[in-house]
C-alpha cells in the first residue's frame, strides 16, 4: 500500500537523491507555522495551493474562557496565524467556528482525510491520518514552508514494516492498550526509518476512531507513518462528510480506494507479530511511552533490566516519577485526570469514559477534566448528555483544544502532581514542569478519577443509565 501511494505521488524520482513527492493535503496550526509564513514573505513566495491548505488553532487555546488568551505571547501566536491565513488566502477554522479543534481530530471530521492521499502537518501526530490508508507524516517548520511554497517535499523512501495484531480483544481492552502494549514490548525506536502498516483481525474490527488512536501513536514507536488499509469501515465513516466526494463521485472514489490495499504476497522489510488475546489494560510508569506495563503488574526493578542504558534510564525515570520499584500499579495514587487529545479526544472516547464515570463520583483528591477534541465533538457529546454524566460525576467539561497533552495553554500540572492522561507522551515536564504523567485509555482514566488511583477497568462496576 505504501508503495502504491508513493508511486502515485512521485513527480521526480530520485536515484541517488530524494524524490520530489506531491502533497495532497497540508494542515497547519499556530505553533509550527509562523516562521514558515515569514520565510515566504522574506523570499517573496506565495502559497502554491491555498485550496489544499487548511489551518486551525489548537495548541495555545484555553479550554475555558477561550476567547480570553491571557498569555500575550500565546495570543500573539494565535493572532499571527489569523493574519497569515488572511494574507496568504488559507482557509482557517478559528475559535468562532464549530469545526475548530485539535488539528488531527478536525481533518478527518471534515472529511479532508482520504485513503491514498499524501498528508503533512508541522506536527508529529500527523500519523493519525494513516488510519484511513493515507500516507501522513509530521514535518518541521522548514518543510512546512517548503510545502506552502511548492506543494511538494523532497523525500527518501522509507522502509516498510508490517505489524500483525493477532487474536481478538477481550472486554475492557481498547485500541489505546493495543498501541501502548506494542510500544511497551518493542520500544520507542523500533519503527525509526519505517512506515508501519497495521494488519490483522484485531485491526479490522476497530472502528475508524479506534484506528486513529493506533496510528496516532506510530510516532511514539519512532515510525515515520502508520497505515491501515481502507475498508467498508473507512468508506462509511467518510460518506457524506463535507470534503468527501459526493454522490456518484463517492462511489467512483471508493473503487479507487479499494485498489490501494496491499496485494497478497507483498514483501515488507520487516514483520512483527503482536498477540492481542493476552493483552491487559496498559499503564505507563516512566518518562518514555515505552515504559509501560499491564495494570496487574508492578513498577519494574531497574537492576533487573538487561542493558546498562536501560537500567540508567529506568532509574532516572523512577526518580522523576517518584515511584518505588515493585509497587503494584493499582497502588499508585493520582491527583489529576486528563481525558482528551488527538489520541483520545473523539466522541467514542468520551462515550467510553462516560460509561465508566456514569453514576460515580470523582475522588476528592482528584481534579479531572474532559476536553473534547473539536467543537463538533463537544456538540455531539452534549446532544447525547455526556457532558451531564461527566459534570454530575465531578469532572470539568471544557472547550476543544490540545489542553494538557502538552500544556502550552493554561492547563498545566503543578510540580509533583501525578496525572492519569489519555494523551500520547509521558516525557519529563510534558504536562508541566515536575508533572508526572501516566498514559492510559479513556476508560482507565475515568476509573482512576473515581478511585483516586489506578484500577483494572475490567472489574469496574458499570452503572446503567437511570431511566426517567
Amino acid at each position: 500500500m505504501f508503495e502504491k501511494i508513493w508511486n502515485n505521488h512521485v513527480i521526480v524520482a530520485g536515484e541517488e537523491k530524494p524524490s520530489i513527492l506531491y502533497i495532497d493535503l497540508h494542515l497547519v496550526h499556530e505553533v509550527t507555522s509562523p516562521q514558515a509564513f515569514e520565510g515566504l514573505r522574506l523570499t517573496g513566495r506565495k502559497v502554491r495551493r491555498p485550496d489544499l491548505t487548511f489551518a486551525t488553532m489548537d495548541h495555545n487555546v484555553p479550554t475555558k474562557d477561550r476567547f480570553n488568551i491571557s498569555d500575550p505571547i500565546s495570543k500573539q501566536q494565535v493572532d499571527t496565524l489569523t493574519e497569515n491565513c488572511r494574507e496568504f488566502g488559507v482557509k482557517l477554522y478559528d475559535l468562532n467556528t464549530i469545526d475548530q479543534g485539535v488539528v488531527h481530530v478536525m481533518g478527518p471530521e471534515l472529511g479532508l482525510t482520504h485513503p491514498g492521499k499524501t498528508i503533512v502537518c508541522g506536527d508529529s501526530h500527523t500519523s493519525t491520518h494513516g488510519a484511513f490508508g493515507a500516507l501522513a507524516f509530521g514535518i518541521g517548520t522548514s518543510e512546512v514552508e517548503h510545502v506552502l511554497a511548492t506543494q511538494c517535499l523532497q523525500q527518501s523512501k522509507a522502509k516498510t514494516m508490517v505489524i500483525r495484531f493477532n487474536g481478538k480483544r477481550k472486554p475492557g481492552i481498547t485500541a489505546k492498550d493495543m498501541i501502548l502494549g506494542l510500544i511497551a514490548k518493542y520500544g520507542t525506536d523500533f519503527g525509526t526509518g519505517y512506515v508501519m502498516e497495521y494488519t490483522g483481525e484485531a485491526i479490522r474490527s476497530l472502528t475508524m476512531e479506534e484506528r486513529m488512536t493506533v496510528c496516532n501513536m506510530s510516532i511514539e514507536a519512532g515510525a515515520r507513518a502508520g497505515l491501515i488499509a481502507p475498508d467498508e469501515t473507512t468508506f462509511e465513516y467518510l460518506r457524506g462528510r463535507e470534503y468527501a466526494p459526493q454522490g456518484a463521485a463517492f462511489d467512483a472514489a471508493v473503487e479507487q480506494w479499494k485498489a490501494l490495499c496491499t496485494d497478497d504476497g507483498a514483501e515488507f522489510d520487516s514483520v512483527l507479530d503482536f498477540d492481542v488475546d493476552s493483552l491487559i489494560p496498559q499503564v505507563t510508569w516512566g518518562t518514555s511511552p515505552g515504559m509501560g506495563t499491564g495494570i496487574t503488574s508492578s513498577v519494574p526493578v531497574p537492576e533487573n533490566l538487561p542493558t546498562e542504558n536501560e537500567r540508567k534510564a529506568a532509574a532516572n525515570a523512577l526518580e522523576y516519577m517518584d515511584l518505588k520499584p515493585g509497587t503494584p500499579m493499582t497502588d499508585i495514587e493520582i491527583d489529576y485526570v486528563f481525558i482528551g487529545s488527538c489520541t483520545n479526544g473523539r466522541i467514542e472516547d468520551l462515550r467510553a469514559a462516560a460509561s465508566v464515570a456514569r453514576g460515580h463520583k470523582v475522588s476528592p483528591r482528584v481534579t479531572a477534566i474532559v476536553v473534547p477534541g473539536s467543537g463538533r465533538v463537544k456538540i455531539q457529546a452534549e446532544k447525547e448528555g455526556l457532558d451531564k454524566v461527566f459534570t454530575e460525576a465531578g469532572f470539568e467539561w471544557r472547550d476543544a483544544g490540545c489542553s494538557m497533552c502538552l500544556a502550552m495553554n493554561p492547563d498545566v500540572l503543578k510540580p509533583g502532581q501525578r496525572c492519569a492522561s489519555t494523551s500520547n507522551r509521558n516525557f519529563e515536564g510534558r504536562q508541566g514542569r515536575g508533572g508526572r504523567t501516566h498514559l492510559v485509555s479513556p476508560e482507565m482514566a475515568a476509573a482512576a478519577a473515581v478511585q483516586g488511583r489506578f484500577v483494572d477497568v475490567r472489574t469496574w462496576d458499570f452503572k446503567s443509565e437511570v431511566k426517567a
Binding site: 520507542t188 507522551r425 516525557f427
Partner: protein
Amino acid sequence: MEPFVKLNGLVAPVDRVNVDTDAIIPKQFLKRIERSGFGQFLFFEWRWDEQGNVIPEFNLNKPRYQGASVLLSRANFGCGSSREHAPWAIMDYGFRCIIAPSFADIFYNNCFKNGILPIKLSEEQVDDLFNRTNATEGYKLNVDLENKTITDGEGLNIPFELDEHRRQFLLQGLDDIGLTLQHEAAITAYEAKRAAGATA
C-alpha cells in the same frame, strides 16, 4: 543556510537515551514567532531548577564544557515532537554537530535544514567517545564532512556514513525550496494531469 564543511570543537556529553524534543526545548518557549534566540532555553529544565537556580551537575553548566560545539548523546536522540525549535535551540546555543547511535526521523531531517550535522556511530564507538570525553578535560574532535571522518589528534580516526545527497546539501548550504522549484514545470504538469481526473 550556513554550510558545514569542517569543525574542530569541544565535546559536551549528555548521557541519556531517548532525549526527546520536549527536553531539548520545553513547550513554553514554542510560542515565539521568530526562528532565533532559542539557545538560552536549550535543555531548560535540566539547566535550571524550579526556582531558576543553576543545576551544577548538568554537564552544560560545568565550566569545562563551556563553548562546546559537538554534542554527544545516546540512542533515539530527538524523539517526540516535530518542533524545529529543537535544532534551532541547539544551533543557537553553539552546537554544529551531534553524535549519537541513532536519531529520531523528523529531528534528523530538521538538522539538515539548519546546517547541523548529525552523525550516527555504533554503540561501541559512542561509548568510547563518552569515555574519552569524560577522561580528558577540554577533549575536542575534528569533524571533517568532506572526508567523512572524526579524529581527535590522539590517534582516534573514525569514518562515518552519510547519505551523499545530504552531505552535498550541508557542504554547499543549499536552499531546498529553490531546488524543488527548479522542477516547476513537472509540478505543474502533475497538477494538470490530476485535475484531468487521473488517479491520485
